[in-house]
Amino acid sequence: MSPVLLSVLAALQMAALPIAAGPTTAPQMAELPGGEVRPLYLTKDSPLTPVAPFRLDMTPVTNRQFADFVRQHPRWQRSQAVALFVEPQYLSHWQEGWPSPEQAEQPVTYVSWYAASAYCQARGKQLPTVAQWEFAAQASEQAANGSTEPGYTRRILSWYARPSTATLSTVGQSPANYWKIKDLHGLVWEWTQDFNSGLVTGESRGDSTLDKGLFCGSAAAGSADPSDYAAFMRFGFRSSLKAPYTLGNLGFRCAQEMADENTDTADTAGRL
């Protein structure tokens, strides 16, 4: 074979160029203004984490939307994705290798963090940070911060207590919250960009302060709010995850930064 042809093939293989993109399908987005959200661990310098204005998908990504992405990026097909990026259960609920009609509008599950990140990046977005997700999720239907409303925590906890039923409901069935975002509670757990920033060891009795032997960090870090145990359970769940994991009740949605030089934003490492 001609050396030129060989080298072109080699280059193509390494670059992993996407096949020509079809029509892009993605959830609609809502705009959220900047604000503050309470992190799991307080520090003495800054009790609240600032969040810059951003856009967030109004519903989680569906099986149909993820299938479109996989068609455009075959390296994310179940048969192609590598072990570093996905566990063996990746997309195992797509019986024929593609979602069934009933699954089309259900939130996609059995996707890893890498797969979810790749989807968002292909749409020009990213996974929301924990701060962005929690900021959006603390809203009730009536208020930006509904966490003090009676019944707010109870409603969330009743979902955590309900069994993981065999069939997921389709997206968008729950009432929209104050930011017009749906399904943040009560449908599936969702990936976040920096879920591995929760320095929870799993030894919850010791988790109220950072374990000095395991983590480098200032002494001030590490007092979780014990009263919001719904949030504690979410952070605990996130801490049990690793990036390649695929779970039947874990999906995702995407966020998008809104470029605004005048606002101080925390970078993905959480620093201003």
């Binding site: 009743s158 207590a161 993981s164 799993g202 030894e203 919850s204 988790d207 769940f237 995850l241 695929t246």
Partner: protein
């Protein structure tokens, strides 16, 4: 040195060191409550592989009441583990893919941070493996320690691990696994349908259900524990809590031996033993008579109103000396045949002399008559006739007795004054009537004399209400 010699020598050393380093590998036998794995027969340590699964499932906590339990191995309490002092355990904790929550395990038998909790923190659909050595013998609780810990325990994530001592436990005929837990539901005890966990009640330590082995009636009816007369029974009793301490008692039996708090200390002849929350105890007893022996938490409202009640059904021949059952039933009558009543609620005082009558009579007057007829018997003009120097009174003693016993109504004239009213019949005993009349007759310039109880009794039978002529009443 010849090559073959070197190889042999090396091979030999390798084999020896491999043997010294490695223990025989055994798969652990796990049982669901109330059964217990068989006693350990070996006399050496082993590497025991334990595979346990955490599962979230809806089960009945009482008839018609469903609850979302989080479990080890699908049961509350979780499966019973049995190892030997010195064993090295390879623990595989798998979290079922259908779980919503991550879970882990803290075994109180583990010496090490968190009792294994950090090492076993597992997301749904994954398995964690960690090793520990069972250094101390005893009966230990294990439970999930994922935040919020109280909620995971309150939902049923606890069980027992027995580390048999090297010299092994004395054999018994029957061994059973009983574990108490308190449960907190949104609805009240017995409220039907699916009940969810109530964190507020859990924090206030106000359970709706306190049960053995995860449900009301888990050890009743056809699920009762069984044994036979003459057998020795050993109960491995745990208390998962999350909050309450148990006062464990078997009605009709005495524990011949109790391993206090699951440790080495032995107590004997114990009626009720404390089982701490997150703790255990071992109770042994020999059955001498047949019958149903009820297991309770002797904080008794828990047994009868919250479900902390189980049963051991014992078959076998009776022993009437030890317990005879009812042998006789008779009527019981204390002294005398009539029912004695206490008038005015105070004990009867019998007057033995006129002085007594005057004294008692004064008390009766003050209590019953003074309000109307006043302290000096002067009465109130137009309302209540005077008794002091009363011509009406002094004219006819029998009539006076009748007035007190049966009452009077209609117009009368006393000391020239007219009265037209009703004197009600007084509910006084014969003695009190006699005493008060004697007092009145001997006070305030009245004629004197005495009235006896017999006279009163006679007038009680023969007299009647006096209705004066012209009475409008």
């Amino acid at each position: 040195m010849k090559l073959s010699n070197i190889v042999t020598a090396l091979g030999f050393t390798f084999a020896l060191s491999a043997q010294a380093a490695s223990l025989p590998v055994i798969d652990a036998v796990l049982t669901s409550p109330p059964m217990v794995p068989p006693p350990i027969q070996r006399d050496h340590a082993a590497k025991v592989v334990v595979k346990m699964e955490t599962v979230e499932k809806v089960m009945e906590i009482a008839d018609g009441v469903e609850y979302m339990f989080w479990t080890f191995g699908g049961s509350v309490p979780g499966q019973f583990l049995r190892v030997r002092e010195g064993d090295e355990v390879e623990f595989h904790l798998s979290n079922h893919p259908s779980s919503k929550m991550p879970h882990n395990i803290d075994l109180h038998a583990v010496t090490g941070p968190g009792g294994g909790a950090a090492a076993s923190f597992t997301a749904p659909g994954h398995t964690s493996v960690f090793n520990f050595k069972a250094l101390n013998p005893g009966l230990y609780v294990y439970h999930c320690a994922t935040a919020p810990v109280g909620m995971h325990i309150a939902n049923g994530m606890y069980g027992l691990i027995l580390v048999e001592p090297k010299e092994s436990l004395p054999p018994v005929d029957k061994e059973y696994y009983v574990m108490q837990g308190d449960f907190y539901t949104k609805g009240a005890y017995g409220e039907q349908g699916f009940q969810s966990f109530d964190m507020d009640k859990a924090i206030k330590e106000q359970p709706d259900y306190v049960v053995f082995n995860g449900a009301v009636g888990a050890l009743n009816g056809d699920k009762a524990l069984t044994a036979n007369v003459g057998e020795t029974v050993r109960l491995y009793v745990g208390n998962g809590g999350p909050n309450l301490v148990s006062s464990f008692h078997v009605i009709g039996e005495i524990f011949d031996r109790v391993s206090v708090e699951g440790g080495n200390l032995q107590n004997e002849n114990v009626q009720t033993t404390l089982v701490p929350a997150g703790g255990a105890a071992v109770a042994e007893f020999k059955l001498d008579v047949p019958g149903n022996f009820i297991l309770v938490d002797h904080s008794i409202f828990r047994a009868f109103n919250k479900g902390a009640l189980g049963m051991m059904a014992v078959d076998g021949p009776e022993d009437k000396i030890v317990y005879s059952g009812k042998v006789a039933e008779n009527v019981y009558l204390p002294e005398g045949s009539a029912v004695q009543s206490m008038p005015n609620g105070h004990p009867k005082l019998v007057a033995n002399s006129k002085d007594d009558q005057l004294l008692f009579g004064k008390r009766v007057y003050e209590a019953n008559c003074q309000a109307c007829h006043q302290a000096e018997g002067q009465g109130i003009p137009g309302a209540f006739p005077p008794l002091a120097g009363s011509d009406f009174l002094n004219a006819d003693t029998n009539r006076a007795i009748d007035v007190v016993l049966h009452g009077l109504k209609g117009p009368i004239k006393v000391n020239g004054q007219a009265f037209d009213s009703i004197m009600p019949a007084m509910r006084l005993t014969d003695e009190d009537t006699a005493n008060v009349l004697t007092y009145v007759l001997n006070s305030w310039d009245n004629k004197g004399g005495t009235v006896t109880p017999d006279e009163v009794a006679k007038r009680r039978d023969e007299g009647k209400t006096i209705i004066m002529e012209g009475s409008a009443h």
